[in-house]
Symmetry: C2
Subunit: 777 residues, 2 copies
């Protein structure tokens, strides 16, 4: 969604009336509330909105309100004559999408908010999940607005169950329930039961006598109803309920206003220099849906929330949209079926399904075993422990265990725990960390970038003699045509350089290495460095065949040779770069790969370290101490595993359904792709080719990279590096917002990146591109 | 729950009929299914069970079934005459608890399972959440059985919403839906909508024409219904549905049978020597509820599942019961409201509430800032990074950063990532880990244990001259009477020993230390070592005032002095030992404390590292590199934070409500407690005093410890230590099971421990005590 304005206004109280079922008296309750609000706040407006109505016009709910609460300003946005569910009634009309309905509702609310202080009630149609004109559920349609709810309970036989289930359906979508409204029934006494039930949840209820039975004539009927309404709207308990509703609105605003100060008092933020933090700098997130946070806007006198695009995909975790009801349900199912169950020596369905699904989709014959941990950093420590033990077991080096290092790439980063840090070269991230010690050697490498409309592969500065001069490519796809490039002079240069360097390190410097560790294709935290895939491909193949690491004869073709190759796919995996695994793009398959972040679709922490049988076998022994003695309490927690199963399934299906086909087409067009391999054609981006080219020409821009959902813009800046603050100006401009929404992004030194979710809508991305262009020009 | 037998039988298909509302035709659908099952399997039994029925006997559902499906064996367990919800109908009768109903149902199912092959349908009353006779929800009552569901949808106006909400209520409780049954309605066409809806979820539906309208006479009515049933039960699509239901039963069994083999192929288990793993050794967990797993029983020819007590509290995580519906709902709410939202520089309600709640309940004036990470190990790394930087900043030692170590206790363990490992002394856990390096000094310490009915504090072997001889105490409480013991000769000896040792380490050996790191009271992974609280108390106070670590003048009384004191409360915190924080028992407050495991009530990973302002201030600087550069992608994920808020609230309320009062009374009785301080009286256990005393006399038992929910039995064994296998015999006996249930426990060398959940029922614990006694005697 991209609700273009606030869904919370300071002077306008909004309440959405949901029914536990159809015909439970939503309109009657609404009428009472309208009258009572007017009584309580005589000088203020009271509005009533029925967004979608079905059934004959005369009986329409807004007409009923007008009749019995004449001071209420009523409106119905979409009226269908047939007294059936809106999805059936709407069949004979123009198609009506959810976003049209939502936009109209929002427009009406916004208009009301400009018309002085007041209250508006929005009455839904039918029960909570009654279909919308488009056939979706109205609980999902209205969720992006997340208006406070008044739930009209069902007072009839069976109504307790219906009311609780309706509440649960709203609750698991992140709605807040302000009050329960119910009619008293002496026989079934649902109201007693429900009052107690909701009281335990901190939700007050208002129980009222039922309306009078139908009169003999229309006139009598109206008279009796008028009387009923007069009486009800003056009851003390109704007055109290109105007071409580109004108070909740005020408290919600006060709470939002105060949260950043309280956070400043109690929270120690990750990766944050707190000297630069103040309540003013902390962004208060009320909720989120799709690609957007709803953030508090303290500056605005009216609209208190503003949609803010989640431009870091919440630190690279978010793929399937915030507040995704399918993921909530999936998480809740696993929580309801298991909670967490201990994993050493046991198996449960979600852990097994995830392991099998991951192995199947990675489609790497080397990989056969899945080890679970909690995040990318722990998963990388596990990977390094696996690889070092495997190579130590095979080569039986006569050096202290702590002297064995890894081979990696400059600028790589694998997480914040000490073991993961040790696998990275010294940098800003770790230089002040007491127990950090970089253990290994990190290759400098040629990088891919677009400069002034051209894709180039550029050697590190001063290393032209090793890697050759910067080379221009006609398309991104050509850079990924590894097979074609292998025989090129560049390929030969790369190989020679790698061989010579390794030889020097091992034979001259006497270093011992136990693994190759790489983030395939793009190095994320190090500054979105786009490695030449040919170089990474050759680094792996050279190490695997190098006489420096003489492989013993192995019966299995999937056994590791040379050194175990670890792919840190935490950032780049699971469709981030457009393919299930970036190993496909690299045309090189690891012996160990690590998966997290998008794994759970953006919901909870979980990591899988996947290894080959020959790595696994190195830990078989007669004693427990020979085993991989690593494990976290919540290892393979069912909630995470089950959400991950669902999330992988969803993304794989999205690809099959062709959700990204338009973007793929965009990147194919105009290229001489007939000549490149299938793998190479998989290099595409959700960011439009034209836009990327356009900004690469701007004078503030040094270069641009993009692949899959990643867009990274390197700005011209004198102070190259992580401590640079060049991109923060642009960052601030984006956070100030466009007409449509704010954009929250993260910067890495002079690199500003924008990360789309896997479900981001093309129109949202086009809008961001426009804002970016405006901000940069 | 402790369902005493299986809830899945090989030859008995069980289906539970839930209705999307009351009066949706559950009994009519049941009749059709009964007849059709009989048609499909003529030689097999068909049973029908109505556990709870309300309304006049003549109209009772089981009578209806008998009438129209005469070959079905029907039964009603509890019949109430009034046609209202069972919770109202039951008021005039004897109270009827949920477990009585469940036990009767289970007894009936078990009896049926012994009577040849067949099918049984259980028809529920009203809608999914209709109240039980005790007033709870029937969806919760029946959940421990987790029978496959046939949901009868609501075909009336509003029925789409009711049906989906009913499904969601069942789904978030971990029920599996086998099929949807619905009547066709030309006007509302719910069946079309719902068929498509459930098909997307992989659930088939069966839509049937509605029954005929009521006849003029009773006879005509019966005749028409008979005809209807005959016709329906012969429909092809009904036959297909029966086939599909029967197939699902078979597939479920096959799946359970095959899971351990598939797991053996794909899973790399934590902390496991895989040479000892085979499909036979892997326990397949179908689901869990309360304290019990439902585990697959491949050996049994009939009952395929068996309740198994979760005796490690799922690696010390589980507190509020598996499959806790409140926690599921809480998790789903946060998932629905936010998903995950990035946390650097933002704030959301659950993270703020949790930080405030934790600070409030820890009630330690030193602590003011909360840092989030994913598990105990990462949280401990954060704690160590915090402490070392703070002390390095203050003392500005002229030693390399990696030379600064910690002071700790022998046998301590803080997690499996390298940084957390480095804070522990060399041990089996880390000796083969390549990058591990023990950085510090670890004190040996006097231990608390019960030996032959007496509580003693025992010095480490051969250290009687330093610590004094073993001392006997009249009660556990007296050992915790720190104030009284401070002035004792033991107290003086402890202080002298600590001072002398520190002096030698610093002045003679030239070591540099940056923090004191302790698991307060009980050291978990090291073998459930119960430290003399007086020693830990004095270790902290001695370091805080030692001239070896000259504290500069500080304006704040909450600033750290000497060295920062870190409490690793991951295992011992949050009521594990009976108090919110074990610091209360120790009467010593840390500068940094770490909380995980029970934090989220046993659902998802989350960790809080809580620090004082003076620790926090050490990271303020002009540059980002001065900050604590640590952070995980899912830092402060709303699902975990929100569940933690709920879980802390629940446990604090449980204490206030006196849930553990009986256990507290048990441990008070017979002690001379008038003389000990209030803090000391907080030493109690959920395990009965008499039982603990009894087993301490057994000849196989060397000693016993208990506190809060922990019980650890040290067995007599020659091969002392982690690599011992002494306790595995006892472990196997417990897993073989008692009459009531199996018990799954973990061992640490020759120590077998049993961990209760915070919600474990006293009767369950008494039963375990009995089994333990039998197994040990």
């Amino acid at each position: 969604m991209a609700s273009k304005t606030s869904s919370l206004w300071r002077s306008l109280r909004t309440y959405q009336i949901y029914g536990a079922n159809t015909n439970v008296g939503k309109t009657i309750m609404s009428t009472i509330l309208c009258k009572a609000f007017k009584r309580q706040f005589p000088s203020q407006n009271v509005w009533y909105l029925k967004p979608v109505s079905t059934g004959p016009f005369d009986e329409a709910d807004d007409r009923h309100i007008s009749r019995f609460s004449s001071e209420t300003k009523t409106k119905c946005l979409f009226q269908f004559d047939e007294a059936v569910s809106p999805h059936i009634a709407a069949r004979s009309s123009q198609p009506l999408s959810d976003s049209e309905v939502r936009d109209e509702v929002l427009a009406h609310l916004t208009a009301c908010s400009k018309d002085g202080e007041g209250t508006i009630l929005l009455e839904t149609a039918g029960g909570v999940h009654s279909p919308t004109p488009s056939g979706s559920s109205q609980a999902d349609l209205y969720r992006p607005l997340r208006l406070p709810i008044c739930l009209v309970a069902d007072h009839r036989l069976g109504g307790i169950s219906a009311s609780i289930s309706a509440f649960e359906s709203l609750h698991i979508r992140g709605y807040d329930l302000d009050t329960v409204l119910q009619f008293e029934d002496k026989m079934y006494q649902n109201h007693d039961y429900l009052q107690e039930y909701f009281e335990k949840k901190g939700v007050p209820s208002l129980s009222l006598p039922p309306p009078p039975p139908r009169g003999q004539t229309e006139e009598e009927d109206q008279e009796m109803m008028s009387e009923y309404y007069e009486k009800m709207s003056k009851l003390d308990k109704v007055e109290e309920a109105i007071f409580s509703l109004a108070e909740k609105h005020q408290k919600r605003l006060q709470n939002l206003e105060g949260m950043s100060t309280r956070a400043n008092n109690t929270i120690w933020y990750p990766f944050t220099q707190h000297r630069e933090v103040s309540p003013q700098s902390i962004m208060t997130i009320d909720s989120a849906s799709g690609d957007f946070f709803q953030t508090y806007n303290s500056a605005s006198k009216q609209g208190a929330l503003v949609p803010t695009f989640d431009g870091s995909a919440s630190w690279w975790t978010q793929g399937l949209g915030h507040g995704n009801p399918e993921l909530s349900l999936t998480a809740a199912y696993a929580a309801g079926r298991y909670g967490h169950v201990m994993f050493a020596g046991t198996i449960h369905e979600p852990a097994l399904q995830l392991a099998e699904s991951l192995l199947r989709h990675l489609n790497n014959p080397r990989l056969s075993k899945v080890f679970y941990s909690d995040n990318g950093s722990t998963g990388m420590e596990v990977a390094v422990k696996m690889a070092l033990t495997a190579s130590f077991e095979r080569y039986k080096w006569n050096v202290p265990k702590e002297e064995v290092g890894v081979i990696g790439l400059k600028g790589s980063y694998h997480g914040d725990t000490i073991g993961a840090m040790d696998a990275s070269e010294p940098s800003t991230f770790n230089e002040r960390v007491h127990w950090y010690k970089g253990r290994g050697y990190w290759f400098d490498f040629p990088q891919v970038k677009m400069v002034k409309g051209k894709w180039i592969v550029e050697p590190p500065q001063g290393m032209e003699s090793d890697f050759g001069e910067a080379t221009e490519f006609a398309s991104l796809a050509e850079i990924f045509d590894i097979q074609a490039r292998l025989g090129s002079s560049t390929g030969r240069k790369y190989s020679q350089y790698i061989e010579a360097t390794l030889d020097r390190l091992v034979n001259k410097d006497g270093k011992t290495f136990g693994a190759l560790v790489m983030e395939p294709v793009i190095l994320g935290a190090g500054g979105m460095l786009f490695a030449d895939p040919l170089f990474q491909h050759l680094l792996a193949s050279t190490i695997r065949t190098s006489p420096l690491f003489p492989s013993h004869s192995h019966t299995s073709p999937t056994a590791w040779t040379g050194l175990p190759v670890i792919h840190d796919e935490v950032f780049t995996g699971l469709y981030r770069l457009g393919t299930f695994t970036p190993s496909t793009l690299l045309q090189s398959q690891p012996d160990i790969s690590v998966h997290a972040k998008l794994l759970t679709g953006g919901l909870v922490p979980l990591c899988c370290t996947v290894a080959s049988q020959s790595i696994f076998d190195a830990f078989l022994g007669n004693e427990k101490r020979d085993a991989l003695l690593h494990g976290h309490s919540y290892t393979a927690h069912p909630v995470g595993c089950h959400v991950a199963v669902e999330s992988l399934k969803t993304m794989v299906e999205m690809e099959k359904e062709g959700v990204w086909d338009r973007a793929k087409e965009d990147w194919k067009s105009g290229s001489r792709l007939a000549s490149v391999s299938d793998q190479a054609v998989q290099a595409w981006s959700v960011w439009s080719k034209k836009f990327v080219k356009t900004i690469s020409y701007l004078k503030e821009v040094e270069s641009v990279i993009t692949l899959g959902s990643v867009l990274a813009i390197k700005l011209q800046d004198e102070n190259f590096g992580y401590s640079s603050t060049a991109a923060t100006g642009l960052q601030k401009k984006l956070l100030a917002g466009s007409d449509e929404f704010k954009i929250h992004v993260r910067v890495l030194g002079n690199v500003l990146y924008v990360m789309a979710g896997q479900k981001s809508k093309p129109e949202t991305l086009r809008s961001i591109e426009k804002t970016l262009l405006d901000a940069l020009s």
